[in-house]
Symmetry: C2
């Protein structure tokens, strides 16, 4: 008997260090695949088409919405982001877990569509680190940084709608917390009922 | 900020290999202490007073009940088992997690007293292994073995009242599942609300 794949939705403010943490979660476990989002945001240095995102323009994004190709979508700091439906469904069918790096509005949409999805909110140990990390990244203008901080405050106010909160004081320890959550969720009694059936029906 | 200690209640049929698994959970983590039960059962070879159990007789056990010294107690295969209250309360106050190895009736009592307790049911991958392991242990008479198998069937019927089911196909992997459950429970949003308060009140 094998455990079923899970939908693991991870959100958190820009500057929480999510990407590094998630790449460590993925590196250690081949049963977890990443859901590559579609976005109208321009690629950052090093980001690759189909690996980090499917990059598209406004018209292409609207077409995906019209064709029902997106599981969820939302606007975030002037850009649009959405989750292509087909790869998610195919991976879950194969018994793989799917990891989503999506913002809070998309996460709430996904939770209402799929109540069994596991929602994890990643934050740094101290809010001031968000600003520090955004400035250190050096990819955004001052105006955009202030907008991202404002957005982060809104996101924090939504955190209690998540199942788990992971503190990223160190990427390895945060990755370990996420891996533990995935393992624990597979152990939930309702997910392992099949191990009891044989005995209980005797 | 540090995470609070948890009450982790582990049950499972005789022969599920719980003791080995739990000793591996404890070995790896000093923030988890074992709740030593009181029992009227005779010590098995290698078992030590105050480490594995507090061994007592029927009269001594009744006195502990009368004095309100036990958090829960129950009869199991002709013997009585109970959890001394004081060490549990003291360890939780210190922020340590307390691990209970107790049978299903006691676990249900503890859950109704402390709804925040985490209940884990440990089983072998296959029910037939229970009989095999009981016979291999060589400590019980044929009559007792049959009684333990009957009890195991009753215990399986209670497993869906637990939060988690851990499959002991290998003690290290089962210990890893229990450690993951403890880590994940510390990450639950309701247990980490304090990390949000400062930001959300700004």
């Amino acid at each position: 008997m094998t455990d079923c794949g899970k939908m693991i939705v991870v959100s958190g403010p820009s500057g929480a260090g999510k990407s590094t943490v998630l790449s460590r979660v993925m590196a250690a476990d081949r049963s977890i695949v990443f859901s590559v989002s579609a976005t109208t945001r321009k690629p950052r240095e090093g980001e690759r088409e189909g690996v980090n995102y499917f990059f598209t323009d406004q018209a292409g994004f609207c077409k995906m919405i019209e064709n029902g190709e997106l599981l969820e979508y939302a606007q975030y700091v002037e850009n649009h982001y959405g989750t292509p439906r087909t790869p998610v469904e195919e991976n879950l069918k194969k018994g793989l877990s799917v990891l989503f790096d999506i913002e809070v509005q998309g996460a709430m949409q996904l939770k209402s569509l799929c109540p069994e999805a596991i929602l994890i909110f990643v934050i740094p140990p101290d809010f001031s680190q968000i600003e520090n990390r955004l400035r250190a990244r050096g990819t955004d203008s001052e105006k955009k940084i202030l907008q991202r901080i404002k957005t982060a405050r809104f996101e924090y106010s939504m955190a209690m709608n998540y199942d788990y909160i992971v503190i990223n004081d160190d990427p390895d320890s945060a990755a370990n917390e996420i891996k533990s959550i995935i393992t624990a969720e597979k152990c939930r009694a309702r997910n392992r009922q099949n191990y009891l059936t044989e005995v209980c029906s005797l």
